[in-house]
């Protein structure tokens, strides 16, 4: 009980001789204490600060939190009635933003429409592209076949062989036998052979 009476009268921090300042401030004070001759004056000021801090602490601790600049009721009413965007003047920008956003949304909508259209057409294109690729493959095969046809043209092939016969500038029986066999294989008449031979020799 004795203790309770003393706690009511005396401050606990003063009784324990403990500073109520923040550890950082105390650290700075200790560093200053190690410094120049103005330690004592600074220490007195610090004590004043500590006292003031204690006074603040007493007042804050003694007085209830209800003593604020704005009563709780007013704050609650303002929060209920006032739109913070309106008070901040955010209504215009909102409206302008709405216009802009409308424009932007229109543009985006246009893009979205385009995208949708693209998407739709893309899907169609994908299908069509897929179909075209098949057609392209078929066309390529046909072109390849068409390209192979000239290569497989008997006259051209025979012409190629006949040109090779004269490479050494001398015609011998073996080459003649080969060309005769090729004529039979390629169904080339002797008249055609002579025509091709003339073309080769007169080039």
């Amino acid at each position: 009980m004795f203790v309770d009476e003393t706690e009511e009268d005396d401050d606990l921090y003063e009784a324990l001789e403990v500073s109520t300042t923040a550890p950082a401030a105390r650290g700075n004070d200790l560093l200053d204490a190690l410094g120049e001759e103005e330690e004592e004056e600074i220490a007195e000021e610090d004590e004043g600060v500590v006292i003031a801090t204690l006074d603040m602490g007493e007042t804050m601790g003694g007085e209830p939190e209800q003593e604020t600049f704005f009563p709780q009721e007013e704050i609650s009413e303002e929060e209920e009635d006032v739109d913070p965007f309106e008070e901040l003047g955010a209504s215009r920008p909102i409206s302008s933003n709405n216009e802009e956003s409308a424009v932007v949304s229109d543009a985006l909508a246009a893009f979205m429409d385009d995208e949708d259209e693209d998407g739709e057409s893309g899907e169609l294109q994908e299908v069509s592209l897929f179909e075209e690729t098949e057609e392209d493959d078929v066309d390529e095969e046909e072109e390849a076949k068409a390209e192979e046809k000239p290569k497989a043209d008997p006259k051209e092939l025979y012409r190629f062989l006949l040109e090779g016969v004269w490479v050494d500038d001398v015609l011998d029986p073996a080459e003649v036998a080969l060309m005769s066999r090729k004529r039979r294989e390629l169904n080339i008449s002797f008249e055609t052979h002579l025509e091709i031979l003339k073309e080769i020799l007169h080039e």
Binding site: D169, V170, L171, L194, L201
Partner: protein, 152 residues
């Protein structure tokens, strides 16, 4: 036909001079071989540059007689000529025909209307060819085909 007309020029200029009769025979041969003026001009120009300057003048165009005889012999080969050309072609093939030899003789055979027969003798090995002796009148053809070296 080039080798034939060149041979005719050699005969016509045999003694170092060309007689009027020889010139007329050359005109006739040009028509027979169906030789163009340009082709004849090329052949005669080359002959004038390469042969005539080295000729020794020995007469007054007696070569016309040789030309007339040669042309007569050639024309007399009418029915035999195709067979002879086939045989010459086959013989030449067995020795090996040069490209220029083929071109010259084929054109000469064209002039005589026997190019197909000559070509068969060369290019159709399955075509049976009778081995014939060729007349002197076809000496230009034999020379072009390289058939005269061994005979000589």
């Amino acid at each position: 036909m080039t080798i034939l007309f060149k041979h005719a020029l050699d005969l016509a200029w045999n003694d170092g001079r060309l007689s009027r009769r020889g010139a007329v025979l050359l005109e006739n041969l040009q028509d027979f071989l169906d030789l163009s003026d340009y082709e004849r001009g090329v052949i005669e120009e080359k002959h004038s540059d390469e042969e005539v300057p080295f000729l020794i003048t020995r007469g007054y165009g007696s070569g016309a007689d040789l030309l007339d005889q040669w042309m007569a012999t050639l024309l007399d080969l009418d029915e035999e000529l195709p067979l002879i050309l086939v045989s010459m072609g086959r013989a030449a093939l067995e020795r090996g025909i040069t490209k220029q030899g083929w071109i010259d003789v084929f054109r000469a055979a064209e002039g005589m209307g026997c190019e197909f027969d000559f070509a068969r003798g060369v290019w159709e090995p399955e075509y049976e060819v009778e081995n014939l002796e060729w007349p002197v009148a076809l000496a230009p053809v034999a020379n072009a085909l390289g058939l005269t070296d061994e005979d000589e």
